[in-house]
């Protein structure tokens, strides 16, 4: 992600103050986010559900 894109996204997220005071931290945060999505396989089944996001077992 290039610097201009990071700045646009950060401002859109309301992080103007962080961008002014901690530009390296904002850049590091953006890099973390960009890197991580590339590691996830996209489900091949278009009907694969995201819901419920978490419900362990069947309970009682």
């Amino acid at each position: 992600m290039d610097k201009a894109t990071i700045e646009v996204l950060a401002r859109r997220a309301g992080l103007a103050k962080a961008l002014a005071e901690f530009p390296e931290d904002v850049a590091a945060a953006a890099k973390q986010a960009a890197d991580v999505m590339a590691k996830i396989k996209q489900p091949t089944d278009p009907a694969a559900e995201p819901w419920p996001p978490m419900r362990a077992g069947d309970g009682l």
Binding site: Q32, A33, I40, G57, G59
Partner: protein
């Protein structure tokens, strides 16, 4: 009442102390005195506490003694002290999250897990160090210093429940509460050589605990022995209709089958986690093989298991965690970014850079991953794998912290919600704890404890104490 030096009392376990108090063989006041003396001597080096609540704890110990002598026991933890991670509410004390942001955030009620501990007779000793908001640490730019490892105070105790791990291992208290969103109970358990359980998602109420990630957060017990852990879980588990993530399930009797043999249990060994996905230090690999051989010698049937890679599990965990955490921290990060430490600021701001579709895709992939782990657990009673890929590194070397932080196999089971227990697998040549992790079926913590107890008994891990005095 028990005679003998107060210096031995800090090493009493939860079960042992509770039984001795119930039998009128141990004074809760003597136990509390011995712990407060040890805390005064060691905590300036360990920083396990953010806030020690000594006077109220001693008053509670006196009340517990009066009740015990009259034969009135509040419950199975009567008179036993407990430490509470400082993202968990204790009425009348601040819940700071180890952060300037919440420095004056006074809790008006106990979290449900604390209510349950107190209802069982436990005595709250104080609030414990954590990585900032359970994500940013170890950090030296916060209002309180980070906790240190009692096996070597130059080393990291793991996190984020760092004060919980450090204090339990050092004999400052016999049990503590931690929270685990990406491994934060099991990491300090691994680094400090104690027993840490992340229960099944929804088994322990999260109400009154400051959230990090709604669908990944778990509250778990941290103790020096497996039996202590099982007892603590019995107390804190149970359905809470006011926690939307709470499972509609009964409490289990987790300690009942502890001494059962593991003969014929089917154990799946996830070797690729530490052999291929993230190559572990040779000492860690050797320790894991030793655990596997020991369980085989005890009669368990061992087979290799393959799951998605650690890299992908970690990525799914990260997208979900940081997206959900951004929803919580966004307003503060916009207005008060300088009031966070740098590590938390960087990790929490990452959530601002995911798209809504990224979060949904991660949740869709999560359900597929859950199905794969469920499949493995249809054919196996328990899974065995690494917890940390390295012994704990030095706390004052940011590059080492950064390198070892993702070298772990704990996040998969936050993603899937299966119960997972980390404990000591041995000691490194430098005398630092090595770790192993056991993973079970949903709500089958009892079998996890059974296998963990078999290993503990065979290896004597519950007898090992850090050298700090």
């Amino acid at each position: 009442m028990r005679d003998g030096p107060l210096t031995e009392l800090p090493w009493l376990g939860v079960v042992e102390a509770a039984q001795a108090i119930a039998a009128k063989d141990l004074s809760p006041v003597d136990l509390m005195k011995s712990l407060l003396e040890r805390i005064a001597a060691l905590d300036p080096r360990l920083n396990a506490f953010i806030r020690l609540d000594a006077e109220p704890a001693m008053q509670a110990a006196k009340a517990a003694e009066t009740e015990a002598m009259a034969g009135r026991l509040r419950g199975p933890l009567h008179g036993v002290p407990v430490g509470i991670k400082d993202i968990i509410d204790v009425a009348g004390l601040p819940t700071t999250g180890h952060s300037k942001i919440l420095q004056d955030n006074l809790a008006t009620a106990d979290a449900v897990c604390v209510q349950k501990l107190r209802g069982a007779g436990a005595i709250v000793l104080g609030k414990l160090s954590t990585h900032e908001f359970a994500i940013g640490g170890p950090s030296f730019d916060l209002p309180w210093p980070p906790a240190r490892n009692p096996w070597n105070t130059d080393h990291h105790p793991g996190g984020s429940s760092s004060g919980s791990g450090s204090g339990v291992a050092a004999g400052l208290f016999p049990m503590a509460l931690g929270s685990d969103t990406g491994g934060s109970v099991r990491n300090p358990a691994s680094c400090c050589g104690i027993v840490g359980l992340k229960p099944t998602y929804g088994l322990v109420s999260r109400r009154g605990v400051f959230p990090l990630s709604f669908t990944l957060d778990h509250i778990g017990p941290m103790t020096r022995t497996v039996a202590d852990n099982a007892l603590m879980l019995e107390v804190i588990a149970g359905h809470d209709p006011l926690d939307p993530g709470s499972a509609a399930t009964r409490n289990g009797h987790y300690a009942a089958g502890l001494e059962r043999s593991v003969r014929d249990l089917r154990v799946g060994f996830i070797r690729h986690f530490h052999e291929i996905d993230v190559a572990a230090e040779p000492e860690v690999t050797a320790a894991l093989e030793h655990v596997a051989r020991t369980l085989q010698m005890e009669g368990a049937e061992l087979r290799d298991v393959k799951l998605p890679t650690l890299g992908e599990f970690g990525a799914v965990n990260r997208v979900i965690l940081q997206s959900e955490a951004w929803a919580i921290h966004g307003p503060w990060l916009r207005e008060r970014p300088g009031d966070y430490g740098q590590l938390a600021r960087r990790r929490l701001m990452a959530g601002a850079f995911f798209a809504a579709g990224d979060y949904v895709q991660a949740q869709r992939r999560r359900l597929e991953m859950i199905a794969e782990v469920e499949e493995a657990l249809r054919e196996h009673d328990v899974l065995l794998c690494a917890s940390s890929m390295d012994p704990p590194c030095r706390i004052d070397r940011p590059a080492d912290i950064e390198r070892t932080y993702p070298r772990q196999a704990r996040t998969p089971f936050n993603v899937t919600g299966h119960p997972a227990l980390a404990m000591m697998a041995g000691l490194s040549v430098d005398g630092l704890p090595l770790s192993v992790q056991f993973v079970g079926r949903y709500f089958d913590e009892a079998t996890l404890f059974q296998v963990a107890r078999a290993w503990e008994q065979a290896a004597g891990t519950d007898k090992k104490r850090p050298p700090i005095v």
